[in-house]
């Protein structure tokens, strides 16, 4: 990289931002391991999912649709919808990826909410080194957390006695809480709740979630 000098000056500040992000992702990874086993995943399926999908909300969304008795297609679509945000995020960070296409494609797999946010500069561009290091750090702890959660949980029985059926709603609620800054988002989220709950008795598990996702079209008009 040609601008290594500039980047090495930025590194200490970068590491300070990466550490808390890695700690939080480790806890989130443990939660996913717990949710996945509770939903009937094997530990190896949970780990492969963490390695390939690498998106907390999408993985837990997919696992919870499967855990609620939903079909595989509904579960996969729910996960894909939750990872769709990586399209605009990948676009804004696109200039931070360098080299041949296959290298950019590989590096882009480390893209996550945390790495994207930590590497973002005030002018809207992204620090390539920080995007990569934060992404790699989160990737490693995410896999480690998944493994720990999956292994610890395998030793427990009767999960709802431990309140563990609340892990995924609480995670979704926390992520949602941070995304309700605008009135548009609040209206869309409220509409999604109404659509999803209205469909619960008539549609198989998973379908209400996908139908509710259409509430994002509120963005076209308001």
């Amino acid at each position: 990289m040609s601008d290594t000098g500039y980047l090495s000056i930025k590194m200490p500040a970068g590491w300070q931002a990466v550490t808390p992000v890695a700690v939080a992702s480790f806890g989130f990874g443990i939660s996913f391991g717990v949710v996945a086993i509770a939903a009937g995943f094997s530990a190896s399926a949970a780990l492969v999912m963490s390695a390939t999908t690498f998106g907390g909300a999408a993985q837990i969304g997919t696992a919870s649709v499967l855990g609620a008795g939903g079909g595989g297609a509904g579960a996969a679509v729910t996960g894909a919808l939750l990872n769709l945000r990586y399209l605009p995020m990948g676009l804004t960070a696109a200039r931070a990826y360098r080299g041949p296409w296959w290298r950019r494609a590989l590096q882009a797999q480390l893209l996550g909410d945390e790495a994207w946010a930590v590497s973002r500069r005030a002018d809207g561009s992204h620090n390539p080194r920080l995007l990569f290091t934060a992404g790699a750090a989160v990737y490693v702890v995410w896999l480690a957390g998944t493994a720990l959660g999956a292994i610890v949980l395998s030793s427990l029985s009767n999960l709802s006695d431990w309140g563990l059926d609340m892990v995924s709603p609480a995670l979704f609620f926390t992520l949602l809480w941070r995304q309700l800054a605008t009135q548009r988002a609040q209206v869309a989220a409220g509409s999604a709740v109404i659509v999803a709950l209205a469909l619960v008795p008539v549609a198989p598990p998973g379908v209400p979630i996908i139908a509710a996702s259409l509430a994002c079209l509120i963005g076209l008009v308001a």
């Binding site: 999908t53 990586y86 399209l87 950019r104 609340m166 995670l171 999803a196």
Partner: protein, 102 residues
């Protein structure tokens, strides 16, 4: 559908989504309406998952002590607790309520 098929399908779709910007569309800015719609996909899906996860069991409405857990999570969030603390509050209060209330 086999669990592994779901894992593989979601993995492939995610890999393509993540690679699309840096490989194919570098520097292209989608129109504002499209960005607004994309920005809303996450919150609407999350809101639906929370509502169904707390108020339904299978295809039935089944409000129960999970609401107490959600309330505990809300209090933790108002107090600006980190993610893991929010989850622990929700899980512990749900387990406690279940033990006390049957």
């Amino acid at each position: 559908m086999n669990l592994w098929v779901v894992v593989a399908a979601l993995g492939v779709v995610t890999i393509l989504i993540k690679a699309a910007g840096p490989v194919l569309l570098g520097g292209w800015e989608p129109p504002q309406r499209a960005r607004r719609v994309l920005a809303l996909v996450s919150p609407v899906v999350l809101a639906a998952l929370v509502a169904v996860g707390v108020l339904a069991t299978g295809q039935h409405y089944h409000p129960d002590v999970r609401l107490i857990g959600l309330g505990a999570a809300a209090i933790a969030l108002i107090l600006k607790a980190p993610l893991l603390v929010v989850v622990i509050c929700a899980v512990a209060s749900t387990a406690l309520s279940r033990a006390l209330l049957g």
